[in-house]
């Protein structure tokens, strides 16, 4: 809905008008509203992004964080939001807001964890990436605590999903991020003891629909996908892909396959690229025709990092640290680069450059237009497991201790 169409609904109650307005306003160009940015693509439209930096060079600002996290920063309305978890038992959950330009901390809120805090030592309770529509930030934690704050840091709503659904438990640690769709937030909660996908109202946090899924541990984030006028939200798990109608939760189609429960699928054009042992290109079901595998390539593989689609090319980093570029139409591998891994963070792209940050915090900058593609290897001097974010000419990285804004001008830390 455009703001113009809000005018035509002037007889609606003002609260509803505001809700409709907020739900319909697209994210501003510079926003990075959730995990892997606009549409979950990992791609930014911004130009003039940095190629070189270090711990001290080309750093716009650097802010301390109060705890651990694998969640990405998100940027909306000039604010950076990030989550963290701390405490001996990882039972303190933090949501923080920073001024995107200066790095000044605007507010910090805490929640007490109400769900399990047991997890693999590599992850933490701040693994899911929050989402923001500019009006609010929606922060989900691996404890299944889920809260929405307005831009000023006032709690808009809170849910303890493990109090609502006590069988939810993933003692390796949950990681799937919530995804915004108009006035809904869609979350896939797949565990061995309970599994479902649920859409909650962004204004109240109440369920709009909830659809049961086969039980089984899974960490992927849903992806919204549009084919023609039809929108679908697709959830990948080890058993395959399931597409849901975003307004009702009705299952539209199922593609059974041995797919990855960690790396998430990515949409490109009318095709979904689903990581498994190999990556498969899948044409979603339409009409009477079921989903169709267009190609599966053993030469392009994804590991923990999810693949990325950009301008008819598919990019993926295999467990050995091999970055491969394939023709998205055929799966034919066009080139490969050996990067220094391992990688937990998924790559992001902007200004014609692919940013691949490894677990040591070294970002390989791969210029897709250059002959020698790897144009820089930039260290940040600390472990980075979270996917970066791009906004306002800066690239944002978070570690367990810091939030870094790289490039895009200079400002004093904590200004």
């Amino acid at each position: 809905m455009s703001p113009g169409s809000v005018k035509s609904t002037c007889r609606l109650p003002s609260g509803l008008i505001l809700a409709l307005f907020l739900a319909g306003v697209p994210a501003a160009a510079a926003d990075w509203p959730g995990w892997r940015g606009p549409g979950g693509s990992g791609v930014s439209d911004e130009k003039g992004l940095p190629s070189r930096w270090s711990e001290s060079e080309n750093v716009r600002w650097k802010a301390e964080l109060p705890g651990r996290g694998l969640s990405s920063p998100v940027i909306a309305g000039g604010k950076v939001y990030v989550t963290a978890s701390s405490g001996v038992k990882q039972d303190r959950l933090h949501v923080l807001s920073f001024d995107a330009v200066t790095g000044r901390k605007l507010w910090e809120r805490q929640l007490w964890a109400t769900g399990d805090t047991q997890c693999h030592p590599k992850t933490s309770m701040a693994a899911p990436t929050p989402a923001s529509d500019g009006a609010r930030v929606y922060a989900l934690f691996a404890t299944c605590d889920f809260a929405a704050y307005d831009a000023a840091g006032r709690l808009a709503w809170y849910r303890s999903l493990t109090r609502d659904y006590p069988d939810l438990s993933n003692q390796v640690g949950m990681a799937a991020s919530p995804v915004l769709w108009e006035d809904l937030l869609v979350i896939a909660l797949d565990t061995d003891s309970a599994a479902f996908v649920v859409a909650v109202d962004t204004a109240t946090g109440a369920n709009r629909w909830k659809t049961e899924r086969p039980r089984g541990i899974n960490w992927t984030t849903p992806v919204f996908f549009r084919r023609g006028s039809r929108a679908e939200v697709v959830v990948q798990s080890g058993r395959g892909l399931t597409a849901y109608e975003p307004r009702t939760g009705e299952v539209r189609w199922v593609h059974e396959a041995d797919l990855d429960p960690i790396a998430s699928p990515v949409a490109g054009g009318e095709v979904l690229f689903a990581p498994g042992g190999n990556i498969s290109a899948i044409l979603p079901a339409a009409g009477d025709e079921g989903p169709r595998v267009l190609w599966t390539s053993p030469r392009i593989k994804a590991s923990t990092a999810s693949p990325l689609h950009y301008e008819s090319r598919l990019y993926a980093i295999a467990s050995a640290g091999i970055l491969a570029c394939a023709d998205a139409a055929t799966g034919e591998v066009l080139w490969q680069e050996r990067l220094q891994g391992p990688f937990s963070a998924s790559p992001v792209l902007g200004d014609g450059k692919l940013y691949c940050v490894n677990e040591e915090g070294v970002t390989a900058v791969v210029d897709l237009r250059a002959e020698n593609r790897v144009v820089a290897k930039n260290p940040l001097g600390e472990e980075i497991l979270a996917s970066p974010a791009i906004s306002g000419g800066s690239i944002f990285f978070r570690s367990d201790r810091h939030l870094h804004a790289i490039g895009g001008g200079s400002a004093q830390p904590g200004e």
Partner: protein, 373 residues
């Protein structure tokens, strides 16, 4: 003072009093709307509006919100703590002070809920950093575990300094005095290690309240995972050593099993033999000198159910996602005399090397995590 002025002041006082009362009523109404939240977002719309109003309040309302958090439960508690954080943060950002003395009184009043006292304490420190030295030494026996942890950490540092200074007997005495107060595993382990290095002995199982003497029975069939939902006879009748049950591969009986592990780990692969797709039960008696609330805490890589005196208090159908002390927690009531703990531990049929463990540890402790007297 003229009669007119006195009358004016009286009216003014009445108006101010009425406004204050109105405001007090308002905040109670706001708090009630927040505390009315229910499952699956029920009441969120009403609570949301109240929450935003609470967040915009001033420091004079902090104590009312903190008091309202007592017994509010974890869901309403998180709603309300956001208001406390918002008010306190804004107050300090505006260059104003938080109400230090009322906050300190709140912290010291052990009738308030532990996490809420800790919240008050952390904001108190932001406005009066000296409160730490004043309050923490008196918190070694505090029912609020996070406050107690700070007190233990402080005394631990002092004991380490005695050791560094070569005063070994004094250091050992300090560590031994500190052990009964400590609750968190990392602190307990550090203290126990020091005591043993200095020639002392520590009974960790007793300190934590681990149950080490069990009767176990099994294996029962859980092919395809059916055993988790199947109520085998041990679930329906008290343990009877004279009774024989139909097990997965033949008749089975209750057998005595004691674990020497200081953290109470029972290895069912050793106690009952190596099996896959099976269920075992463990039963133990726990004596109490009085009726009392307790925390029952277990760790296992297997799916588990726990009963206390026949009442099911915990269930979790999850396999081989790690095992850690206290990963599963439930609360229950011990009655004076003898009590029966029953645990059901299910092993699945995964063939991976890392999926072969079948066992559990369980402790019965007070609500702070200390072993029972």
């Amino acid at each position: 003072m003229s009669i007119r002025i006195q009358a004016f002041l009286l009216c003014l006082s009445c108006i101010v009093g009425s406004v204050a009362q109105l405001q007090a009523e308002d905040i109670q109404s706001l708090l009630a709307r927040v505390k009315a939240v229910g499952r699956e977002g029920a009441g969120n719309a009403q609570a949301s509006a109240a929450s935003r109003e609470l967040c915009d309040r001033g420091p004079e309302d902090l104590l009312a919100i903190l008091r309202s958090m007592n017994g509010a439960g974890p869901v309403a508690g998180n709603w309300l703590r956001s208001a406390v954080d918002a008010i306190a943060e804004k107050t300090l950002a505006d260059g104003r002070a938080l109400p230090a003395q009322p906050l300190e009184q709140f912290v010291l009043d052990r009738s308030h809920d532990g996490p809420v006292r800790r919240l008050a304490y952390e904001w108190l420190l932001r406005t009066d950093p000296s409160a730490s030295d004043r309050l923490v030494p008196g918190m070694l026996d505090d029912p609020a575990v996070e406050l107690r942890r700070d007190a233990v950490a402080r005394e631990l540092d002092l004991a380490e300094k005695l050791l560094e200074g070569g005063k070994k007997p004094d250091a050992r005495s300090a560590f031994e005095r500190l052990l009964p107060a400590s609750r968190d595993e990392d602190q307990v382990s550090r203290i126990a290690k020091r005591i043993e290095e200095l020639g002392g002995k520590v009974d960790l199982a007793r300190h934590f309240g681990f149950v080490r003497d069990w009767r176990v029975v099994g294996p029962f069939d859980s092919s395809g995972g059916v055993g988790y939902a199947t109520a085998y006879p041990p679930e329906t009748a008290p343990p009877d050593e004279n009774r024989e049950y139909t097990g997965k591969s033949g008749p089975v009986r209750w057998i005595e099993h004691s674990t020497p592990d200081p953290r109470g780990m029972v290895d069912l692969n050793k106690a009952l033999g190596k099996h896959m797709g099976v269920v075992a039960y463990g039963a133990a008696k726990v004596r109490s000198s009085e009726d009392r609330p307790v925390s029952v805490r277990a760790g296992t890589p297997n799916a588990v159910k726990i009963w206390l005196n026949g009442r099911l208090i915990f269930t979790r159908e999850e396999y081989h996602h790690g095992s850690a002390m206290d990963q599963h927690r439930a609360e229950g009531m011990l009655r004076k005399g003898e009590n029966l703990i029953l645990i059901k531990v299910c092993q699945n049929e995964q063939t991976d090397d890392w999926a072969q463990d079948w066992g559990f540890q369980l402790r019965v402790c007070d609500l702070t995590g200390g072993g029972l007297p």
